[in-house]
């Protein structure tokens, strides 16, 4: 993920790029204040620059789970990745929070800014087909335990047609988990992975993963430890931890085919432009 001068990317017309329409995929958390991102997405839409907005909603799901008395757990896998324990009740909470709280807020916010948006989940039109792992390993108090009721999965197949249909009309697709499996059962998938896989499937010009930190930090509490670039070697050790590992992994995969991939802060002016200009990672 190299630094690039993004001005020619954003002023698409001048570059004469042959990629399909210069679509970019922007992913936000769903917890952070989306105002600046929505401003920029609406602006791009008005200028005829296709943008796909992908969102997660971990914070909203956590809050709703607490309000409904649904147990929250984090699965720490042997390789150090953290993921949300997603039993059936938690899957329902996630679905409610993402589709029933975060997504409508983003669709409304875009309309308030004069853009037209269409909300989509991975289950719609078979956009994201996922497969769950029958048994996942979780490290708890030094023991390794197998969990079998997990309703999360990994994306196996992406059909970008529903997204393309929305883009063709000049509207903004607002996309999120959950996905569904081949039998129609909902599965939780990672929102960063969703954004990355969509970017690849759409042959997007750029993938921007916005987060609440300024970029990939070796010390999550110290913004000056931002890495301007990362490669696969950064995932080998303990350098990148927790949720950021998901982002880096997703970003690296996408960067094989997507020209510009950036991880940057959502809470700044014109976050998309700045991310692609190298302000993040």
């Amino acid at each position: 993920m190299a630094q690039d001068d993004s001005r020619d990317l954003l002023d698409g017309a001048r570059t004469g790029r042959s990629t399909p329409g210069g679509v970019i995929v922007v992913k936000i958390g769903g917890g952070a204040d989306p105002e600046a991102v929505l401003d920029e997405v609406a602006e791009r839409a008005a200028a005829g620059r296709p943008t796909v907005l992908v969102h997660g909603g971990g914070a909203a799901a956590d809050e709703l789970a607490d309000q409904l008395g649904v147990r929250r757990e984090v699965i720490r896998s042997p390789d150090g990745t953290h993921s949300r324990r997603t039993d059936q009740p938690m899957l329902e909470v996630i679905t409610m929070a993402l589709l029933g709280q975060v997504k409508p807020e983003l669709v409304s916010g875009l309309r308030a800014r004069g853009a037209r948006a269409v909300g989509l989940s991975g289950a719609d039109g078979e956009m994201l087909t996922a497969k769950r792992k029958p048994a996942i390993r979780s490290v708890q108090d030094g023991r390794t335990v197998l969990i079998r009721d997990d309703r999360s999965g990994q994306i196996e197949r992406v059909d970008p047609t529903p997204v393309q249909a929305v883009l063709a009309r000049g509207d903004v697709p607002v996309v999120s988990p959950p996905a569904s499996d081949a039998e129609g059962h909902l599965l939780n998938v990672d929102a960063d992975e969703t954004a990355a896989r969509l970017a690849v499937a759409l042959e997007a010009d750029a993938l921007v993963l916005l987060t609440d930190v300024v970029g990939v930090l070796t010390d999550p509490t110290d913004p000056s430890t931002r890495l301007p670039e990362v490669g696969p070697e950064h995932l080998d050790g303990d350098l990148v931890r927790g949720r950021m590992r998901h982002k880096v992994r997703a970003g690296l995969r996408a960067s094989r085919t997507v020209a510009h991939v950036a991880i940057a802060a959502a809470k700044q002016d014109r976050p998309i432009r700045r991310a692609l200009g190298g302000a993040g990672t």
Binding site: R137, V145, L146, R253
Partner: protein
């Protein structure tokens, strides 16, 4: 109180020490053949070969 018991490894038949603190679905390693075993039941402890670790992220 931990009682010194062992159960046969389903793979190599070696003795695998088990305690009554083991939890169902817990993974234990057989020291003889290094297999990952799953505690399928307790009281008495029953072991089976644990499922394969699936590769993440395709490829």
């Amino acid at each position: 109180m931990s009682v010194a018991l062992s159960v046969q490894c389903p793979e190599c038949a070696g003795a695998v020490p088990v305690s009554d603190e083991l939890m169902v679905a817990e993974i234990v390693i057989c020291q003889h053949c290094s297999s990952e075993l799953e505690v399928v039941a307790t009281g008495p402890v029953v072991l089976a070969l644990a499922p394969e670790v699936e590769e993440d992220w395709g490829e």
